[in-house]
């Protein structure tokens, strides 16, 4: 299909999926570029969503499948963007498709190969809490449903190729360069979680019972590394007290990010509710800085957590989280800023840090390839923050989701639809300007 009828979407998370479905539905050819072996992005890692408490993958997986099966969508997973040339209506794009060493078309995703693979490494999808094999599918609902061999860890024992009945394993696969001609590009690269080990007083990385929020999501997820059982990560004990700490690395000038990630107050409350639903006898505390529950039904959600579920909210950024060397339980030093009392919350089994969510490191490279500009925080710049919230600084390239500014799932989806509409609009404009100008 010619450039003017097709769109490249960079990032296969919920924003990228939504934009691709919108455009495909309008008859455009869509290519979805995703760097990991599966689409789904961060939303696929979440256990539940706020404020509806839907099972995240349950509402996402149908969309992922729809994307996969749509005749107008081509998924380019496990791929990297190499080059972009041209202008709106006529971008020439080069993409490197990394070898999976498994034929996507032949693999049925039965997983028998992984059962036989002797190599175990931490699973990135489970935030390294669980293990996967060197031949693996990141999650059971992966799309496309095909295995991938992680060549770095593979010892080439050939066990998988011997066991595979479909004959899908192919060690000879080479990186493939795909050249596309597209009329518009949508960037939806999402976020990375700030690594809080730099904030030494919280002991993340040293104290086993200190988790990050995304780790917690995998931890309580039924399809996660511990089957969703609410047990202490350090020793498998039954927790009685769980605390959440907000603004870890966000809204600061020293570590992490100067901005508010906008979702932590809400997801911490959601996670607190998940804890109470799993185990009503666990006491849950949320250390917050300000409660930013600005969306529809959000404040009510927090009130429900407080009043119906008995979640304790404490206005404080704790000073220190200290592990008892013997019991591995944690004590949290804090200043209750509403009552002005310096206190210690002792015998806490698990502390969940809610780290800043940062625009992805790879955005810089992407900006270099595409020519779009980033702002000082690393988000993609738009031509007008109020009136053109999805137009990047290059005509024909649009941005949506967290990579444009901090936002939650519904806003990412809405913005993805907006970006899709703007992309479609630019292609329509191209049709009336024969020389492919931007008009």
């Amino acid at each position: 299909m010619t450039g003017k009828q097709s769109v490249l979407i960079i990032g296969g998370g919920i924003a990228g999926i939504q934009a691709s479905l919108d455009l495909a539905g309008r008859g455009f050819q869509v290519y979805v570029l995703e760097e990991t072996p599966t689409i789904g992005g961060r939303m696929a890692q979440l256990d539940k969503t706020f404020p509806t408490m839907d099972c995240s993958i349950c509402i996402l997986a149908p969309k992922m499948m729809e994307c996969f099966r749509h005749p107008n969508v081509k998924l380019l997973t496990y791929s990297e963007l190499k080059e972009v040339k041209g202008t709106v209506g006529n971008f020439q794009v080069k993409i490197k498709k990394k070898p999976r060493y498994v034929e996507e078309t032949k693999c049925t995703g039965c997983g028998v190969c992984a059962e036989h693979c002797p190599i175990e490494v931490p699973n990135e999808f489970d935030m390294n809490l669980g293990m996967r094999k060197a031949i693996y599918m990141p999650m059971p609902q992966a799309v496309p449903r095909a295995m991938t061999i992680d060549k770095e860890n593979c010892i080439e024992c050939k066990m998988c190729s011997k066991i595979c009945q479909a004959g899908a394993v192919n060690y000879q696969q080479e990186p493939q360069t795909i050249e596309l001609n597209v009329g518009a590009i949508i960037i939806a690269t999402g976020f990375d979680q700030y690594n809080p080990s730099e904030i030494v007083e919280y002991g993340y990385g040293k104290q086993k019972n200190v988790l990050t929020a995304l780790e917690f999501e995998r931890w309580v997820c039924a399809s996660g590394p511990v089957g969703g059982h609410l047990l202490r990560p350090g020793d498998g004990g039954i927790p009685k007290k769980i605390a959440f700490v907000q603004c870890v690395g966000s809204r600061g000038s020293k570590f992490g990010a100067p901005f508010c990630s906008s979702v932590c107050c809400m997801y911490a409350t959601k996670e607190a509710l998940i804890v109470r639903e799993h185990a009503p006898d666990v006491n849950v505390y949320i250390f917050y800085n300000e409660l930013r529950a600005f969306g529809k039904g959000f404040h009510e959600f927090i009130n429900r957590a407080r009043n119906e579920y008995g979640v304790t909210y404490i206005r404080s950024r704790p000073g220190e989280i200290k592990e008892d060397p013997k019991t591995k339980s944690l004590s949290i030093w804090y200043d209750d800023t509403l009552t002005r009392e310096i206190k210690t919350l002792g015998d806490v089994d698990v502390v969940v840090l809610c780290p800043a969510l940062l625009p992805r490191e790879g955005n810089k490279k992407l900006a270099g390839i595409t020519g779009v500009e980033l702002d000082s925080s690393g988000f993609f710049k738009v031509t007008h923050p109020l009136l053109a919230p999805v137009d990047s600084t290059v005509p024909g390239i649009y941005v949506c989701g967290y990579c444009q500014s901090p936002k939650d799932i519904p806003d990412s989806v809405a913005q993805a639809s907006a970006a899709a509409a703007r992309a479609a609009e630019s292609l329509a404009m191209v049709q009336v300007t024969p020389k492919g100008g931007t008009k």
Binding site: I199, V200, E201, C247, G249, R251, G252, S253, K254, F255, G256, N289, E290, R315, S316, R317, P318, G319, E320, K322, P325, W333, Y334, D335, D336, T337, R340, E341, I342
Partner: protein
Amino acid sequence: MCSGRVEPAFILNAFENGADGVLVAGCHPGDCHYRAGNNYAEKRVEKTKKLLDVLGIGADRLRLEWISAAEGEKFGSVIKDFTEKLRVKGPSPLGGRELKAVPVKQNSAESIHDILKRTKALYCQECGKCSSSCPITRLDPSYSPRLAVEKALMGLENDVLTDKGLWSCLTCYLCRQRCPLDIEYDELIRTCRAKASSNGINGQCAHEGILFSLSRLMARKETSQNRLTWVPEGAEIAKTGDIMYFVGCSPYFNVMFDDVGVNNIEIPQSMLRVLNAAGIKPVVLENERCCGHDLSFSGDLDNFEKLAKINVAAIKKSGVSKVVTTCPECYRTLKLDYAEYLGKQNLEILHSSEFLTDLIANGKIKFDGKISKKVTFQDPCRLGRHMGIYDSPRKLMTSIPGVELIEMERNRENSICCGVSAWMNCSRHSKQMQVERLAEAKRTTADLLVTACPKCQIHLNCTMSEKLPVKKEDVVIETCDLSVLVARAMNLTPSP
């Protein structure tokens, strides 16, 4: 007043105020109403004489005499004799009384709002991270960094300046280290103290303020000290060269704190021997002044500035390109606070731990001996959090054959202050912090607590030398300065 009450600080104060000599007269030994008052007086006067010698004022300007209330004649003759001798000696080398100028330093004229702006405190989110980290707040919640900032933000200038808590702060930097907004609490406190001080409000000084007297006396141009008597026989120092060793106040501390079980002078002596062994003959200033750190952190910016100018002039005159300090406070002061006086001088300031680590890396220092000891390390606030040096002291210790380093629970960025800073507000909270810290060191099962700051060593040893509400064996641990440890490992000084 009982002669036992005459603190060395009072005597120095008299000299500061222009006295040419001081006579301490007390009841005869055995006649003391309080049994031992005059014994104390004797010890104190001895100590003060030593300080006067180092200061260059001379011990003979201080005299102790036993004169009872009934010995009018003796009183008369002693006074006559002493004044006669002083007349022969001439006036005090310090000159007459220095009229205290009204502090005009710019910083104290700065408005609270400007201070808040400069230290970034205007961005405070009142999240409480500072206050829950502050070691003082945890013991005494009536003071907290957050409350201080909040009061200032509310414009309650008077409350801020008259708050006793202003002087409780250790400026240990733990709150600033952890503050997500990097609010410069240490600087906020330093400037507010200067402001309070210029309004006549001062904190409570430890040792009756004698250490401030010493610093102030050193800030006088006329002062000509006699401070090189510590240089051990056979050791070599130079008048000119490339590397300066800035000794710090050890010659004074050595006199002041001989009763807490610290041999402070060992630090410069060891350092000098190590440098000599590495083929370095360092420049040591014969009239080096206090760096002024304590004055700067206790509100006396005037005298700080004087000290800074004198030291900077001497350093510039010496023509050195590197200055090495063993004291982290000197290090911070020279490197950060002298910057505006040094200008664009091409001068490298190094802490001994950095300098010695480099010497080891270059093969200039070799360890013949072995020290089979488990050691733990107290990070000095000024070296660690203030200046970000955590690795070089550790590298230095562990490069000594046989030394095994065991970290305390709270180490590096999370380390806890030794309990007192700038000789201010040594309180029961200080003692509690010291007892807890020593117990922490003890729990590591280490044999030796190594420090890199003479003051940390003094403070921790002071607590160990006192009566304590805990079992001695739970807190008493041998302490040693980093450079002393290195010298011992090189067989340059004997291990105790």
